[in-house]
Amino acid sequence: MYKYDEFDSRLVTERAEQFRRQVKRRLSGELSEDQFKPLRLMNGLYLQLHAYMLRVNVPYGMLSSTQMRKLAHIARKYDRGYGHFTTRQNIQYNWIQLEQVPDLLAELAQVEMHAIQSSGNCIRNVTSDQYAGVAADELEDPRVWCEIIRQWSTLHPEFSFLPRKFKIAVTGSPNDRAAVQVHDIGLRMHRNDDGQAGFEVIVGGGQGRTPHIGKTIREWLEPEHLLSYLEAILRVYNQDGRRDNMYKSRIKILVHEIGADTFRELVETEWAELRDSELRLPQSEIDRISACFAPPDYPRRADAKTLLDSQAAARPDFAAWLHSNIAEHKVPGYAIVNISLKSLAAPPGDMTAKQMVAAADLADEYGFGELRVNHRQNLVLPDVPQEQLLELWQKLNTHGLGTANIGHVSDIVACPGLDYCSLANARSIPIAQEINARFQDLDRVHDIGELSINISGCMNACGHHHVGNIGILGVDKKGKEYYQFTLGGSSGRDAALGERTGRGFPAAEAVDAVESIIATYLRLRASDERFVDTYRRVGMEPFQEALYGAA
């Protein structure tokens, strides 16, 4: 894992102290709310429906057990004993008091964490594959590049006042788990014809009220040119992106309005000036950062498949968990474990301080003290010996963390919605919980198979509903909560935006609508076909018929 150098530490500590002075001036009345608001937002502090909300960056979703314990401590000391993991791999606290934020930030700085650039029109936390460094299908570890981007983009003076916020995602695997096609910039590593690894550069993807799948503007970019190329893109956007209308100011609108070809030409012209500047990455720097992500010394282990099979045969619940929550590790004898934060007990992505400490302890006991947050609001323990999976599962269960539903119907992504968010039109969490409650029978959940449901409480689409296989968008219709459905969305390699089914449903009918969509799928699916494949094969009509009756 990357360790802060002197420069990083000084930066976050000084920033926390600077904010301490700003808060003091605000509380004394020296600064008005109008003057203070941009300052607090630059430090990730929002004002929501009930209180201030603080968004803390988890760089590319990676946490040490020490950091996780600190997050738990913060939840207890400064909040109401829990936190919310977001679709951008960050954590949000919902009940933070302004007066206490300076102390909180100072505590975060002790574990190399901060909230800088977690809000505002700047380059936000770079997101990545939660299986980075351990996935069996990985070409190269994307965290190296995420860290390089993090250092370049942190307090980048030229890009601290962009037309709008800016999100970058990186994947090092052909199986995209980082949703790179729906980010402002998506980087996908692959090999060129000479077998050299480099980046496909995808620009202008995004969700919100005008969703777009990104356009590839460069098929292959040599890694040493990564920063100069990113800088060229940001320059074009910074200069030409619209600033007259906040709904039209994301890079996706610019790319869409001028066209990907014109955009590419502008970038290439800019890049010609930049490519051989000091932004060109020397191999020594790439090596230095790579060394931070060197794989741990894995004790040799035999493949434990036979043992697991026999354990699973005796325990159907364990078998189900193995089936849904375990991913293949690149090292024999090890497994990647997904911890579901989608039990019935709490809103999607929410975790109590006690659970955070438990997860941190388990990361130490069954791994190398590392955890990951993924963009579907779950956690990952990346390095678990296969022969210890049963033991780990039993312990996870005692903490309410053993739900066997990753990638399945009850693994619902939901934004905070109107229960917390001041921009919301409707609630998201209760709908997620009702669906979850409706699908508690594990056999049924596993029979339905791979399926993603995403819920957003407004057009801003923080719940990524456009790319859910079933997307649900909360709207306000004459003072009542309604839910519109989209089908066929996906954020993986086969990224697609969902299509609207038709008129929305009142809250009381929303879960029945989900049931009806799933029943239609089960009726029409061919053998092992996933929901999204059935949808792509049969189209919208049968689903509309089920939802609204024959036309």
């Binding site: 605000r26 509380l27 004394s28 009345g29 008005s32 709310e33 004002l47 429906l49 009930h50 209180a51 201030y52 109401r80 004993g81 829990y82 933070i96 008091q97 302004l98 007066e99 007990a345 709490a346 809103p347 929410d350 975790m351 109590t352 006690k354 659970q355 903490h399 309410g400 109107l418 229960d419 917390y420 919301a424 609630r427 969490i429 209760p430 919980q433 003072g479 909560e481």
Partner: protein, 97 residues
């Protein structure tokens, strides 16, 4: 429409951010039953003016009027957004585990 309904002033307290209500003594309380109720638009204007002064004096942020119904012993917002602001999230706060 607002004018036909009783109204109260809601805001966030500056220092801790929590939701507060303007009281009859021109103070702020976190309990909605302490809120002072305006029964017509003229009264409501007076309340809002005093709330805005409190905002300028850096006690609260973003005060505004909301329509309420007077049921039981506490005013109840008529709009569900405000209802959630007043009574908290409609889902349980995670605890225990």
């Amino acid at each position: 429409m607002l004018s036909l309904m009783p109204q109260i002033v809601i805001a966030n307290s500056l220092a801790d951010g929590f939701v507060v209500f303007l009281t009859a003594s021109n103070g702020w309380s976190s309990r909605v039953r302490d809120a002072t109720v305006a029964h017509d638009d003229a009264d409501a204007e007076v309340l809002l003016r005093s709330a805005k002064a409190a905002a300028e004096n850096n006690l609260v942020i973003d005060p505004y009027l909301i329509a309420v119904e007077l049921k039981g012993d506490a005013p109840e917002p008529t709009e569900y957004r405000e209802y959630i602001r007043v009574f908290g999230p409609s889902v349980a706060i995670p605890s225990g585990q």
